[in-house]
Symmetry: C3
Subunit: 258 residues, 3 copies
């Protein structure tokens, strides 16, 4: 069953509506395997002529997506380039935002770092596009609080900030997302594509800005302070212990003093 | 009484504060007559040296503004150019946003399509500026949900999304708008004009982006799928039946399956 | 005690976390002395190699920051240039936004005019950057309402609009800000600086736009209508009487009729 060992699986609800389930125990940590899975998914998405909408969800209770891997398993995602000519890390996000298909994140549980918000805890700064996308989404003041505070946001606050579209009661989440996805899937494909393209024209950061952030992030990773912080977090239980993985952002202010 | 047959009438509360009432039964559908009325209004606004603020409201219960006409009554609004050198459809919106006078929309009842949100239902994509203006107003994620979901938003959700400034209890709406309009009308005209111009400098989409969207929309209208969807909607009661006109966006997901 | 007479004082909670307290009775009015204090602060900030975060607060009950001085005490803040090459008024705000240190405003009481929102009451338009920053923060529609309505916003509405990050119950404000400030102060300085710089790259208005607004504002101050309004407000009690200073925006709609 090589299939079930993949970090993400694709469920084709209909030819127009797919669900992608991250199932990469223990925490859906972002490493080279996840990015490889996403790159494969992008190829499949690019070659489908019926697809309109992809819902991303998690099979792991309490965790949606974790942070980037800190144990050397990120492979060449920041150096090898993808189809867009950008490094895999950026290429993956850029191709998702520019894909003819619409992405919907159905978030249950913790989500961190993939959106670059928590990396100050590591002694580095965001490099995957967060600093470029957040100010347009939530305004400069809230973007700075999110990035520099490096803390968890509950769903209601995230909605008030404009960080997510909506926070819904858990019992309503599945039905809301399924109805929205089926609705979009019912529309004509080229109309959906044209509408998304028009929105993209006025809302996506430039490749130059994204590359600047990634290059600066690569440099930051070499700082000794960053290496010290990352080691301290790993020793405390990061990437190993469920309780620590759930709560570490709240502990950060004092975690590294001792 | 040619006057009462006009699709909109202007009430000069004071020389500085006008109300424009859309009164075009049955649903204030946007056709060539409405645009002609708006073009006449713009000429009157341009020549007034006392005007500061215009409140737009509807005389039709349950409907503020409907979608664009689908029965061939839109005349030459996408081909003939207005004073700005842009096609009438865009010219009308652009000149309102750049007018020395401030526009306030006092929305009671359904509002659709004129802001381009629902056109996926027709098999086309927005062409009147919605995809260019929404991302700056509500952020990319919410703009995509609004445009691609093509559904009604209640007032509270619209406020949370930043789609409208405020949702107010019905009993407070008239007084709130009237007080705000009279307040703006009490300020010096050239200060109001200068302030609006400064905001416009950093917040309006370019004419090129608006034209791209309109051209793409024109092409989309020729797609056979679009023509099929539009016919299906008209046969079901669009532009004729009150109940259908009120509820059709909620029905869309399944409407066209049968 | 020349120190206690300064309009603002700096409290170094830690080398990384400073508090700046505006204490300039009766209302923390923005005049040349406040800007001189801020310019001195900026020099201190620029030369500190440990500073990460500065919290700005007020020692005056009911007033956080008032409007610009209208009694001739603004000195040369709009003509003399600061270190950025921009006039002191803009230089002060621009250097704060670009400083390696993070600014947090802990707002209790009225705040006006320093963000340029109320100047229509004076017959002029904003000139200190408000019209350039607000549309990106709250969207065009809400920016226009804030600037053109020239009225007070309570904290909850300000949060809903995205005008402030959060409105908190008074009893929680101090602890929330202190915890956030200490958290940011605990991170590595160059990571904080790099993150803020990346956010700034995509969220700050250009110097050209800021200068246009200031030049236009300078012209507006020479309009006779503006001078008349300013005189009327001063005669009614502006800058002298506490009750008037607290409530004048609410009275504006009718204040100048008589």
């Amino acid at each position: 069953m090589a299939k079930s060992a993949a970090p993400l699986r694709v469920i084709e609800e209909t030819p127009a509506y797919w669900r992608v389930v991250f199932d990469y125990p223990p925490f859906n940590i972002l490493d080279a395997a996840i990015f490889e899975g996403l790159q494969d998914l992008l190829v499949r998405m690019d070659t489908s002529e019926s697809l309109r909408v992809v819902v991303f969800e998690s099979a792991i209770p309490d965790f949606y997506l974790a942070h980037f891997d800190l144990t050397g398993k990120t492979g060449n995602i920041t150096t090898a380039v993808g189809r867009s000519g950008l490094p895999i890390l950026i290429d993956t996000f850029v191709r998702l935002t520019k894909s003819p298909a619409i992405s919907i994140a159905k978030i249950r549980g913790c989500v961190r770092g993939g959106s670059s918000e928590f990396v100050l805890a590591w002694g580095v700064h965001p490099g995957g596009g967060g600093t470029e996308r957040l100010p347009h989404l939530v305004g400069r003041g809230r973007a700075l609080e999110i990035v520099l505070g490096a803390n968890d946001f509950d769903g209601d606050t995230a909605e008030r900030y404009g960080y997510v579209n909506r926070a819904l009661p858990d019992a309503e989440l599945d039905d809301f997302i399924d109805a929205l996805a089926r609705r979009i899937a019912s529309f004509d494909r080229r109309a959906v594509v044209a509408a998304k393209n028009l929105v993209n024209q006025v809302s996506l950061p430039s490749a130059d800005r994204l590359l600047d952030a990634l290059n600066s992030f690569q440099t930051a990773l070499t700082w000794p302070e960053a290496q010290q912080r990352i080691q301290a977090l790993l020793e405390r239980g990061l990437q190993r212990e469920v309780d620590f993985e759930k709560s570490w952002p709240a502990l950060l202010g004092t975690l590294l003093d001792t």
